[in-house]
Structures are given as structure tokens and as C-alpha cells.
């Protein structure tokens, strides 16, 4: 009995030790600066931008996004981008902002909890959610509570549908799907297209449906359509086999990069090397730990932001982001940055102040968003329709030697 107790004590001690040792290295490597701990911050209501002192009379901006989980790269990027914009704006004087990002782990239920935390904190303007599935849930609350929202990157049509005070900085899914089909046709990238999409995900199916409609309109031939789900995203041999047997020369992948990385690997193992065309969810594949970037060589994607662009605004943003986070910002970071600036310009134009009520701010911002023109990192002369969708021009990108390069 003594011996067994000793063993359990030793085991517990070992587990503790492992916890401490790895905990340190873990939070060091993720490089998240604004939230105190990285992964553990999920359920902690007081995380967010704890260490940036809030200026007096600041307008409280809240947002939810996957700061941990499989889609963490998007949430972290959007938050970091938004934080850079907030810091810049606060340094200018005038309208002041305070930013609070909460983790939703790309899960609708957690996102609603995070949203409620933000409301308790006193959120006056919302950045919605970063990814589509949670955003569909939280924007319903935005609409009910009359809290103005502009989401950096939740692209599903259901995010803005029927909600007069919810706007998107990114393309809506229908636009992504049809723009992709148009781009493939214009650039003559492929003649026989295969599509693999995730049929339990609103983002993936939304893009797929409009891609299919547009492709039929343009006469682009889709030779194979296969699906997978959250629970079956390991083995893609059947989907790849179907595309190969149908003689597809280009596979369209409306999905996030994690399953895409498996598809590249398994297609290579099967000795099949078509062209790949992705959407904004493909952004981030190059920073996936342990990923062999040569597998993604030649992968094309449509994204509104190009970190290689040479205009001053992009260069300054990229430099600041690299300094703070040690990596090149992706599209989501730029979207987050643009959202804050769009709110800033609208608030300035409408004379919004922090002591106004949430619904007053909401009405003033809605009026501005539907009438003004905004120039940001992700596009010039952006305008918003009453339905909340943005209109701007996409840029084609290709992965070359492990980096994103503009195609045009």
C-alpha cells in the first residue's frame, strides 16, 4: 500500500512538472501578446486586451474569434490586426477605442457566451465573430441588442442576412464562390474542375453552391463533387480518387487549410498533381507547424490582401505586425485592421462619443456605413450595400517558394 501511494505521488509530481515546463514553452511560442496566457484564456472572462491601458472616454469595441483551436490562426490574426489599428488611432488623439477580444474556439455556443461576456463588459461596437459558424450565432444577438457589428472575415451570407446593423469587411461567400469561378475562367486555369467541400460547414457549402452556379453560367465544367465532414476529415483517398478518375486538372477547395494540408499530402502519395485553387480559408497554410510547404507549391487563392504590395499603408502595417508578432500578417489581420479603421472613420464622421447609448451609436454607424466610401488595406473605394455586403476587387495569389505572391 505504501508503495502504491508513493507511485501515485511520483506520478502526480511528474504531471505537475510537465504542466509547468510545457506551459512556459507553449505560451512563448504562440507569440500572442495582448491576451495574457494564450490557450488557457478561452474561458477566462477577464482576458482580452488586459495590458493596454484604456484611455478615458474610449468607445468599447468587442469581438469574438478562435484564439485557440483549429482555426486559431484566424482569430489571433484578426485580433492582432485590430489591436494595431486601435493603438494607432489612440495615438492620434480624438476618438479613442478600447478593444476586447474573446475566444470562441470556432464554436457557435462558446461564441454566444463570449458575446455575453463582452456585453457585460460594456461593449458598444462589435467586431462580430471572425469565423462564419460562430458569427451566424452572435450577429443574431447583435441585431437583437442593437449593437453595431462589422465582422472582419465571417463570410457566410447568413451572417448579414436580415440584419440591418451587421456588415462584412470580407467578401460574402457567394462573391467568393462566383469570383473564384470567374477568375478560373478568365485566367484559363483549368478545364475540368473537381470540388471537395465540407458539407457540415456553412462557409464551405456557401462558397461551393455559388461556385457551382457561376461555373454552370460560364460553362466551366465541374467533373467531380465530393464532400467530407468534421468527423471524417482524415482520409481523403476517395475524394482524391474520384477527382483523378474524372480527369480533373484543377481542384477547387473551398475550406480551411487544415484539411487542405491533408489533401495535398494524400494526393501526392497517390501520385496525382492537379492545380489547386483555394479561397481565403487557405490563407495560413504556410505557417502550419511542421507543414512541408513544398506540398503547397503552386496553390492559388483569391484574397483581398497582398502583404507584398508596395503602397505605404500596407508596408507600414506589415512592418508593425512583423515587429509585434514576428510573422507576415495574413488577410485576416488586414481585415481586422480595416474593420477598426472603418469604425473609426464612420464614428468620426458621425460624431459618435463613448457616452452615447449603444443604439444611438448603432444608428449613426449604420447610416455612415451605407453611405460612405472606405479605403483600407484590403481594397480601395469599398462601399457597403444595405444588406451588409462589401463591394471591392479580389486579388489572385499563388504560393511560390513558400511565400504568397500576387498573380497579376
Amino acid at each position: 500500500m505504501k508503495k502504491t501511494r508513493l507511485i501515485s505521488i511520483v506520478l502526480i509530481a511528474m504531471m505537475m512538472l510537465a504542466l509547468v515546463a510545457c506551459g512556459n514553452s507553449g505560451s512563448g511560442s504562440t507569440g500572442s501578446s495582448n491576451t495574457g496566457g494564450s490557450a488557457g484564456a478561452g474561458s477566462d472572462t477577464d482576458s482580452g486586451s488586459a495590458d493596454t491601458a484604456a484611455p478615458a472616454g474610449a468607445i468599447k469595441i468587442g469581438g469574438t474569434g478562435p484564439l485557440t483551436g483549429g482555426a486559431a490562426i484566424y482569430g489571433q490574426a484578426a485580433r492582432n490586426g485590430a489591436q494595431i489599428a486601435v493603438d494607432e488611432i489612440n495615438a492620434l488623439g480624438g476618438v479613442q477605442f478600447e478593444l476586447n477580444y474573446q475566444d470562441d474556439e470556432h464554436d457557435a455556443e462558446k461564441a454566444v457566451n463570449a458575446y455575453n461576456n463582452l456585453k457585460d463588459w460594456g461593449m458598444q461596437v462589435s467586431l462580430g465573430s471572425v469565423t462564419s459558424t460562430p458569427a451566424v450565432a452572435t450577429t443574431v444577438k447583435n441585431f437583437e441588442d442593437r449593437i453595431f457589428a462589422v465582422t472582419p472575415s465571417a463570410s457566410a451570407i447568413a451572417v448579414t442576412e436580415g440584419k440591418d446593423n451587421v456588415f462584412q469587411m470580407c467578401f460574402a461567400d457567394p462573391n467568393q464562390g462566383s469570383a473564384s469561378a470567374q477568375y478560373i475562367q478568365d485566367q484559363k486555369l483549368g478545364t475540368k474542375i473537381a470540388v471537395i467541400y465540407k458539407n457540415d460547414d456553412v462557409y464551405s457549402t456557401g462558397i461551393y453552391e455559388t461556385f457551382k452556379t457561376k461555373a454552370a453560367e460560364l460553362g466551366v465544367e465541374i467533373v467531380s463533387e465530393t464532400t467530407f465532414t468534421e468527423d471524417s476529415q482524415q482520409d481523403f483517398s476517395v475524394q482524391i480518387g474520384a477527382a483523378k478518375d474524372a480527369g480533373a486538372d484543377l481542384i477547387f477547395l473551398p475550406m480551411y487549410y487544415t484539411p487542405a494540408s491533408l489533401i495535398f499530402q494524400q494526393a501526392q502519395n497517390a501520385g496525382y498533381s492537379p492545380k489547386y485553387f483555394g479561397v481565403d480559408g487557405m490563407d495560413g497554410i504556410l505557417t502550419l507547424e511542421g507543414f512541408d510547404t513544398s506540398l503547397a507549391e503552386g496553390v492559388m487563392l483569391l484574397t483581398p490582401f497582398n502583404a507584398d504590395a508596395t503602397d505605404d499603408k500596407t508596408k507600414s502595417f506589415v512592418a508593425k505586425y512583423q515587429e509585434a508578432h514576428g510573422e507576415v500578417p495574413n488577410q485576416f489581420a488586414a481585415d481586422g485592421y480595416d474593420c477598426v479603421y472603418a469604425i473609426y472613420e464612420a464614428a468620426k464622421a458621425a460624431g459618435v462619443t463613448a457616452d452615447q447609448s449603444v443604439s444611438e451609436i448603432n444608428d449613426a454607424l449604420v447610416a455612415q456605413f451605407t453611405s460612405f466610401t472606405f479605403n483600407g488595406l484590403t481594397g480601395n473605394d469599398m462601399t457597403w450595400a444595405v444588406n451588409g455586403q462589401v463591394s471591392k476587387a479580389p486579388k489572385g495569389m499563388i504560393i511560390k517558394d513558400g511565400a504568397y505572391v500576387g498573380m497579376d
Binding site: T229, S232, D235
Partner: protein, 293 residues
């Protein structure tokens, strides 16, 4: 030809379910409890190997050995902390404890290693063997998995059938009380079972992630559930049953995807399971034990 290549995919997927199912069935057979944390022990094994092999550049065999040691200790630790105090409790309490353990492991992994996905480097490389003039390819990892699975199965059958410890395990599985009266240390036997089951989990984790190289804290949970299904399908408690069940499940899943619908593949798997259980409630290889009154 595509039939053959689907068959190969099915076997490669199924053999991984089989190797996970061996761990489930082993523990169920002896301790009569469902160790739902098994899938998460697999994940811990995969992370251990990932850190040794990829982060610290150790040779793959050392990574595998380390993973086996860590998983064995973890398995025995889990048994001691979460299951042993509940040995006299109703089975439902143990089941809930196992589910709790599963979440504890998943969330601890998320805390320790963050939930950003990592790409697991295959311990045997990504080569493949071409057959019939390159029309068919079998990846090396599948061959290694099949080999490992057969070795493990034969070793387990030999162990439970021929060794003293193995006989003690079978005695415990039939009647704990009687086994104890015969002088068998039931607690030590059950701990031993967990040690073996968890060591198997380490192999399963490494082979799973070598074949499907995304590693996340939730990596083990879905394959764990599918493998549990495979174990039930083959007859839970039966070692060859777990292997055959796993392979059949993999083949059904791939064929369902290929010939019926990619949308319904999981539904098809579970419909087959329901049919099998309706026709043969003990599973394909399960023994129907007659209770003496």
C-alpha cells in the same frame, strides 16, 4: 481497378481503427469497463512522439519508445486515480469518470500544447509501393501498420492464452470474486491490463498520425469512437474480433463514400453497426456467456 484502390484505402483506414480497437477491447474484456479516455491517451502518445521526433530531432525509434513509456505510465495513473476508487461503484459511475478523464486529457493538452494543429512527420516516411505498373499504390505506413497490428494481435492472443498473467486476466474477466479466492491479485491484474492497453495506444497514436498527419488535442476522439464501434462490431472483449471489426469498418466507410455518397459515409457505418447488433447482439466474434443461476 478503382475497386482495388478503394479496398486498399479501406484496409489502411480500418487497420488503424483495429489497432485502437485492440486497446478498447482488451480493457473491456478484463476490467468490464469502457475506457473512453483511450482515444485521448492515443493523442498524448502522438504528441510525445511529435515532440521527441520533430521538435527535438531524436531518432524515430526513441520517439516511439518514449511515447510507449509515457502512455503506459499515463494509463496506469488514470486507472489508479479515476477508476480504481470506483471499483465497487455502479458501472455508470465508472463510465462518467472515464468521460471526465477524456475531457480532462483533451483540455490539458490544449493548455499545454495549444490547439493549433501540428503536422506530424511520418515515422517511416511517405513512400509507397507501386503495384500493377503504378496503377495501385500502397503506402509504406499502411504496410507497417498491418505488420504492427498482426504482431500485436498474435502477441496478445499468446499472452492471454499461454502466460500466467494472461490466464489471470482471463480469470478476472470471467469472475473477479472467484479469481480473488483462487489467489489472483485482481487489482494488479487490472493495472497490468491498463498498462498493456495504454502501451498499445502509443503505437496507435503514432501510426494514426503518420497516416493522417494532423495532430490536435482532439485528434484521438473521433478515431477513438470509431474504433470503439469497431470493437463492438467485432464483439467487444474478443481480440481477433477487434481486428476484423476495425478492418471491416474501414472498408465499409471507404466503400460507402466511394459507391454510395460521400455525404452519408458516417451514417452508413453506423447503420451497418445497428444491423449487425440487431442480428448478432454480441458482435461478430463475441461470445454469448450463459449466466448460471
Amino acid at each position: 481497378m478503382s475497386f482495388l484502390s478503394h479496398l486498399i484505402s479501406g484496409v489502411s483506414l480500418g487497420i488503424i481503427y483495429a489497432i485502437i480497437a485492440l486497446g478498447y477491447t482488451m480493457v473491456y474484456g478484463i476490467a468490464k469497463m469502457l475506457n473512453f479516455a483511450h482515444g485521448d491517451v492515443i493523442m498524448v502518445g502522438a504528441y510525445t512522439c511529435f515532440f521527441a521526433f520533430s521538435r527535438y530531432q531524436q531518432p524515430p525509434l526513441l520517439g516511439v519508445a518514449l511515447a510507449v513509456v509515457v502512455c503506459t505510465l499515463l494509463g496506469v495513473g488514470i486507472e489508479r486515480l479515476a477508476y480504481k476508487p470506483l471499483r465497487a461503484a455502479p458501472p455508470l459511475a465508472v463510465l462518467i469518470s472515464a468521460i471526465g478523464m477524456s475531457y480532462l486529457l483533451q483540455n490539458s493538452a490544449q493548455l499545454l500544447w495549444t490547439s493549433n494543429p501540428k503536422v506530424f512527420p511520418s515515422v517511416v516516411g511517405n513512400g509507397s509501393v507501386k503495384l500493377l505498373g503504378g496503377q495501385l499504390s500502397i503506402s509504406v505506413i499502411t504496410l507497417v501498420t498491418v505488420g504492427t497490428c498482426i504482431v500485436i494481435m498474435v502477441a496478445l492472443v499468446w499472452f492471454t492464452g499461454r502466460t500466467k498473467m494472461g490466464k489471470a486476466m482471463r480469470a478476472c474477466s470471467e469472475d473477479k470474486g472467484a479469481a480473488q479466492l483462487m489467489g489472483i491479485n485482481v487489482n494488479a491484474t487490472i493495472s497490468m491490463t491498463f498498462a498493456i492497453g495504454s502501451a498499445l495506444a502509443a503505437f496507435a497514436g503514432i501510426l494514426l498520425c503518420s497516416a493522417y498527419p494532423t495532430l490536435m488535442p482532439t485528434t484521438g476522439s473521433m478515431p477513438g469512437i470509431k474504433a470503439f464501434t469497431a470493437a463492438v462490431f467485432g464483439g467487444i472483449g474478443s481480440i481477433p474480433g477487434a481486428m476484423i471489426g476495425g478492418i471491416l469498418l474501414g472498408i465499409i466507410e471507404i466503400f460507402g463514400k466511394a459507391y454510395i455518397s460521400t455525404q452519408l459515409s458516417d451514417a452508413i457505418v453506423f447503420i451497418v453497426l445497428i444491423i449487425v447488433l440487431v442480428v448478432k447482439p454480441a458482435g461478430l466474434f463475441g461470445k454469448k456467456i450463459q449466466e448460471k443461476v
